[in-house]
């Protein structure tokens, strides 16, 4: 981070001359940025505006007209109870905690072994994971469904949790990359002091991996929180086992045209992501850049 900051500073030390070309470029630059941002925001803005409207207001005004009362939260309360979002947030919370904890432990352990030990099969295991990253999950769902069915994992939170923990290849790559930057001398000196491999992993390496773990929590957390295809397929009891993403399905039936209610539901489901995004902006950007290197 520090390096890129200085890079930016140095890059702009040079004074600009206000040539016509420079002025045209500046105008074009800001125009394009505002134009693109406008189209990014419009779908969300219309959603926010609509979520504050009463039924009559929604039916009588244009979708882009601001609501008469910006403090009309009744749609939010309504959407929250109709879509069973209390249960949904609880389920999503349980799923997030379990999946993240599980995938951190599994991912760091396999990365530790693959990076620190040379043993026959090391290369093979790496290749197995790389190859797995190529297979799109949707393509395999036909057969995965049968396996989930045979294991009696369908309609149980733990089944879905284990499936989601499954193989998080990108996290494993990030951990391995990070391990490569931690000197082996550290392990060696600990071994001389009589520490076991377990102690080295839990007491020395795991704490040092913290930045990589934060990155993976953000990446994996976002995909887990937003995942709906498997949640819809494997958590079929929509009353008790809905997640935040699938609870929105409630609105597809008879309520499908009450967009003031739907928009309120959509915004409720986005709020956690928005809060996390505002707080952890930079780690998220770094995580995206790191996670996509091997993509």
């Amino acid at each position: 981070m520090a390096r890129s900051m200085t890079a930016e500073e140095r890059r702009h030390k040079v004074k600009h001359h206000y040539t016509p070309g420079y002025i045209v470029w500046t105008i074009f630059k800001y125009f394009s940025l505002v134009f693109i941002s406008f189209w990014m925001v419009i779908p969300l803005y219309s959603c926010v505006v609509t979520s504050f409207k009463t039924d009559t207001e929604y039916n009588s005004t244009n979708v882009m007209t601001p609501p008469s009362d910006w403090l009309n939260f009744s749609n939010f309360a309504d959407a929250f109870s109709k879509a069973n979002m209390g249960v949904a947030f609880r389920n999503s919370g349980i799923i997030l905690v379990c999946v993240l904890a599980g995938s951190i432990i599994i991912g760091t352990q396999i990365a530790y072994v693959l990076n620190r030990f040379k043993f026959p099969g090391n290369g093979l295991i790496r290749n197995l994971f790389t190859f797995a990253a190529l297979l799109p999950g949707i393509a395999m769902q036909v057969a995965t469904y049968e396996i989930m069915n045979n294991l009696h994992f369908i309609n149980h939170l733990y089944g879905y949790i284990i499936l989601s923990m499954g193989t998080d290849v990108i996290s494993i790559y990030i951990y391995i990359q990070y391990f490569e930057n931690i000197s082996v001398a550290l392990d060696e000196s600990a071994i001389i002091d009589g520490a076991s491999y377990h102690t080295i992993y839990w007491r020395i390496l795991l704490p040092m991996l913290r930045p990589a773990i934060v990155t993976c929590i953000i990446l994996k957390g976002a995909t887990t929180y937003n995942e709906y295809y498997n949640a819809n397929l494997y958590l079929q009891d929509k009353q008790k086992l809905c997640t935040v993403a699938t609870s929105l399905y409630t609105f597809t039936g008879p309520m499908g045209s009450r967009y003031n209610l739907i928009c309120a539901g959509v915004i409720i489901s986005m709020l956690p992501a928005l809060v996390v995004f505002i707080i952890f902006q930079n780690s998220i950007y770094n995580g995206i850049a790191a996670g996509a290197v091997k993509g």
Partner: protein, 343 residues
């Protein structure tokens, strides 16, 4: 935790220590790999193997299975709905190329000094964090006749009655869906490219700026060569991404009115029609295409970018690249000088 054969407590002979170390080593290798490998096998390789098997049968999830040989593969090419869904991916490929170009432009602009740069970046990136179902609702609302998009266009002077039904009109609905995917992913691409641009040696810009290179020249001679690897990678990934386009059409139109992409059609065949064998054959066929693309990508990187900035390039290679980049900057400088003198 740390007890299995731990030599920490009592001093033993050297031989004994190595022996327990060896045991410990084996124990930790097995202990730490068995669960991940089991999960990998259970949810990736087992379904993969089963799927290849399914693809030769005519079968449902339950009931009798009959062996049909290559028939399922043949019907991929015979059935119109499947074949036309493959054609649809061309829309997504075109969209992906535009998306990469726009992301590249935005990344270049936002990695320079821009007022409210952080805000622009956040606004463009945020849609990436929205879940698929929410995106589906947002865009159904956005494209409904007389709603969001039509209102905005009416501000620009269009007559609402003359505007098409964005999701129903077959001439335009796939572009509408491609735009939804653009909206969601362009920010992610941009962040990726900004990361790559930030890792370029800043002294190159300095040298270029002193020589009076304008922004376009800086982009062409410094930024583009510095990030060509990641751009190429993304272009290749967008081919496989376009073939496996799923979320947008699945949540916005459910594949109606000729918007069913390959995976949407596959999902319908697998779950609504319960033709598991055919769906498996479709999946295997697409995986073969993806492998072909991946191998092509590996070959391209092996032969075209031998000196480029790869993730695992060695120190020597990096040094060489820096040297080449500096050389390029020098040449640029000389060129500029020559131009000035000519004037």
């Amino acid at each position: 935790m740390a007890n299995a054969g731990s030599p920490a407590k009592s001093r033993k002979s050297f031989r004994e220590i190595t022996q327990t170390r060896k045991f410990q080593r084996t124990a930790i290798i097995i202990g730490f790999t068995v669960i991940p490998l089991f999960l990998l096998f259970l949810f990736t390789y087992l379904p993969f193997g089963e799927m290849v098997g399914f693809s030769f049968f005519k079968m449902k999830y339950v009931g009798k299975r009959t062996f049909v040989g290559w028939n399922n593969y043949k019907s991929i090419f015979r059935r119109d709905d499947i074949f036309s869904s493959l054609i649809l991916s061309l829309y997504y490929m075109a969209g992906a190329v535009i998306q990469i170009a726009v992301a590249l432009y935005l990344a270049t602009v936002l990695s320079m000094k821009v007022r409210f740069g952080k805000l622009f970046k956040a606004v463009i990136f945020f849609p990436y964090l929205i879940n698929g179902i929410a995106m589906g609702f947002i865009f159904k609302f956005f494209y409904t006749h007389g709603f969001v998009l039509d209102t905005v266009l009416s501000w620009a002077g269009f007559n609402i009655d003359s505007l098409p039904y964005w999701l129903r009109d077959q001439r335009i609905n796939n572009w509408a869906l491609v735009y939804a995917s653009f909206w969601r992913y362009v920010g992610q691409n941009m962040v990726l490219f900004i990361g790559a641009i930030m890792s370029i040696d800043p002294s190159l810009y300095e040298a270029a700026a002193i020589d009076g290179a304008n922004k376009f020249q800086q982009f062409k001679y410094i930024i583009l060569p510095g990030i060509q690897t990641i751009v190429t990678l993304n272009i290749i990934l967008s081919i496989t991404g376009s073939l496996s386009a799923f979320e947008g059409p699945y949540v916005i139109t459910s594949g109606a009115n000729g918007t069913g992409t390959y995976f949407v059609v596959m999902d319908r065949i697998a779950h609504t029609d319960q033709k598991v064998g055919l769906a498996s054959a479709m999946a295997v066929f697409l995986l073969l295409i993806i492998f072909a693309c991946t191998i092509a990508q590996k070959l391209i990187f092996k032969y075209a970018f031998r000196n480029a900035q790869t993730d695992d390039e060695s120190y020597a290679a990096r040094k060489q690249r820096r040297k080449a980049e500096k050389q390029a900057a020098k040449e640029l400088k000389a060129l500029k000088k020559a131009q000035k003198e000519a004037r």
